[in-house]
Symmetry: C2
Subunit: 384 residues, 2 copies
């Protein structure tokens, strides 16, 4: 039998067979009417998922390029504040450094949860700023920030708000319009259940107006050029048509489930993962709270290298889980549970992790994690 493979990472995530089948369809020309129908529906579905009436710009690129598009179109000559509490907060910093913004950082230890009052205080000290950069799901730590309150603090100081929602869009609530978000970057390969290769950025009228006053520092990521083309159901550069066809199918699946149902499912998946991990006797690195429903980050017991856990899962069971990043490498492992996931993916991940940890000589409680996860998943505690 061919080995079964399991993706338990924060992306790329497992892709449903309907979406894979769509990928294998003959290629459509990006300026033909067959593609036009799909493209129009896909862009409209993205607006539904983003909860916005604004344009969702689509780039054929990794999610990072959607983030860079914000800096390339708004950064030059701007004052910017980055809220940074992990690897992806630092990515905003790295991107902004390339595009000539004057950057101030509200910095937290990796694993801390950013607080709106810290941001408000910094903005007051600074006498305001032009742009605030947030990370909704900090994939490196498992923390999901309260973007609504952070954005409110930024708006109160008169700033435009940019959000990295690459691993969170479709998994946790995000209200682009209701929360007044001006640029929200995401990607196809996380909760949107599509292979990597499409980068997305919802852009508010205010963001577009601000960009119109500057010269884009990127040709490929130029918002005005992209918006103008999309308005005619065109794209400025050949888009990854097969991925768009696949994304359209995946978004249809997500909207058929319903966003609220998907968010609740992710909360329950997070509860299940945390309950199982704790039942084994392991310590959580990510917060033990419902909002942390994208990635569960787990400390390994003393004397164990999380790289060995990841390696053991891969070699024994064909499973991919993520090691820690940066200084957390070797110290934590991360179970991604976004997109096409159900509770039995969680129980499988837990059961295998338990075996691998036991192999490595860790002192783990055997035989209880799966039941604990199932119970937590079915818990009647209301989802906040």
């Amino acid at each position: 039998m061919p080995e079964k493979k399991y993706l338990f990472t924060p992306g790329p995530t497992p892709v449903p067979p309907q979406v894979l089948a769509a990928l294998g369809e003959p290629v459509l020309h990006h300026r033909g009417p067959d593609f036009g129908v799909v493209y129009e529906r896909c862009l409209a579905r993205l607006q539904e998922v983003y909860r916005t009436r604004a344009d969702v710009l689509m780039f054929t690129a990794s999610g990072t390029a959607a983030m860079e598009s914000v800096a390339a179109n708004l950064g030059a000559g701007s004052r910017a504040v980055v809220v940074s509490a992990g690897s992806f907060g630092e990515r905003w910093e790295g991107i902004l450094a390339v595009h000539g913004a004057d950057v101030d950082v509200v910095r937290y230890e990796w694993g801390e949860t950013p607080r709106a009052d810290d941001l408000a205080a910094r903005l007051a000290e600074l006498g305001g700023t032009d742009l605030v950069f947030l990370t909704q799901s900090e994939t490196s730590t498992g923390v999901v920030a309260d973007v609504q309150s952070l954005a409110a603090a930024a708006k109160a100081a008169g700033a435009l708000v940019a959000v990295d929602a690459v691993s969170s869009l479709g998994a946790v609530p995000l209200e682009t319009d209701a929360w007044g978000l001006d640029a929200v970057a995401s990607g196809s390969q996380k909760a949107l259940m599509t292979p990597p290769g499409l980068a997305l950025c919802a852009v508010s009228e205010a963001a577009l107006a601000a960009a119109a006053g500057k010269t884009s520092r990127s040709y490929f990521l130029d918002w005005a050029r992209t918006q103008k083309a999309q308005a005619k159901l065109d794209a400025p550069f050949t888009p990854a048509t097969s991925l768009v066809v696949a994304l359209d199918v995946a978004l249809g699946l997500l909207l058929d489930e319903g966003l609220d149902a998907a968010f609740e499912r992710h909360v329950r998946l997070g509860r299940a993962a945390r309950a199982g991990v704790k039942a084994m006797g392991l310590e959580l690195f990510s917060p033990d709270e419902d909002r942390s429903s994208v990635v569960t980050a787990v400390r390994v017991p003393d004397g164990i290298d999380s790289g060995d856990v990841v390696k053991g899962l891969r070699t024994r069971f064909g499973m991919t889980m993520a090691n820690g990043q940066g200084h957390l490498k070797g110290k934590i492992f991360r179970i991604g549970h976004i997109g096409w996931f159900d509770v039995f993916d969680i129980t499988t991940a837990l059961a295998a992790t338990e075996l691998v940890l036991a192999d490595l000589g860790a002192d783990v409680e055997r035989g209880v994690a799966v039941q604990a996860a199932l119970d937590a998943f079915e818990s009647t505690t209301p989802v906040a």
Copy 2:
């Protein structure tokens, strides 16, 4: 019966079923060993196709981003000369304008073939330059330039040479190392028989050294970051893993055929297209020469709008062909014949075009194009 669809455009091009099947395989994690095997082989196959020992950098993006990577990494503060004879020459100009180069243009009418002595003369007038930008296949006109001689003129003046080979790589001879090319941009969706979404750029040691002396003006398209990651079989940002798997299969098919056989096939496809077009009594816009083996551009008879030809082919037969671009819109149509094409694709395109033109009341010779194309394809005239 579901309507058969035909792609006769210069990209995206038809994708072989083996490649489509690979696209539909479960998604691999970009840092897992399963993907590593494919990635390593794919990068090595790209070096074979590019005829280079240099690194071929891979970006998850449209081909234009590979072109932009050259300007973003080398353009700032440089003197640049663009050889421009169509829409894609103008794209180099547009990209360079964003990245702070001092640009001079050797400009031709759309449809003219650039000449090495014109470039040499301009470079002599200018007292040299830092960078020369060439277009191998000018998809908007069907002209394939003699990159070898143009590059020699540029090298003689001490410049680094960048080539847009997006629609030509794998279809016409290109010798990255032997011709001394420093940056060669391409994309997955043309002769490489893969859906759009991967951008490629071969970069010489000299180009990398020049880039090392500058700060990249793009985070996503940073050569140094990309090269460093690829050296460890990693990627700086989540790559479009499904497209890489597909490209690997497609490159295997191309190399199994053999590059020389593929180039000869494209020459014969070009001959067939031109012979059929002329037999119908139509006038060629693209040059009537073997090198013009990527796109055959055809003038429509007076009183006919080429947009109506394109529309007729689409609505009557489910075929996609390209209208002219820019001021050639309405005046020419373009038959792309790159990648997974055989002579019966050409005869199908010709037979359908003949019918549509007759519908539109054009004075075309009926019933001779297919035979003329087949005869030309099989002609024993040696391929230069």
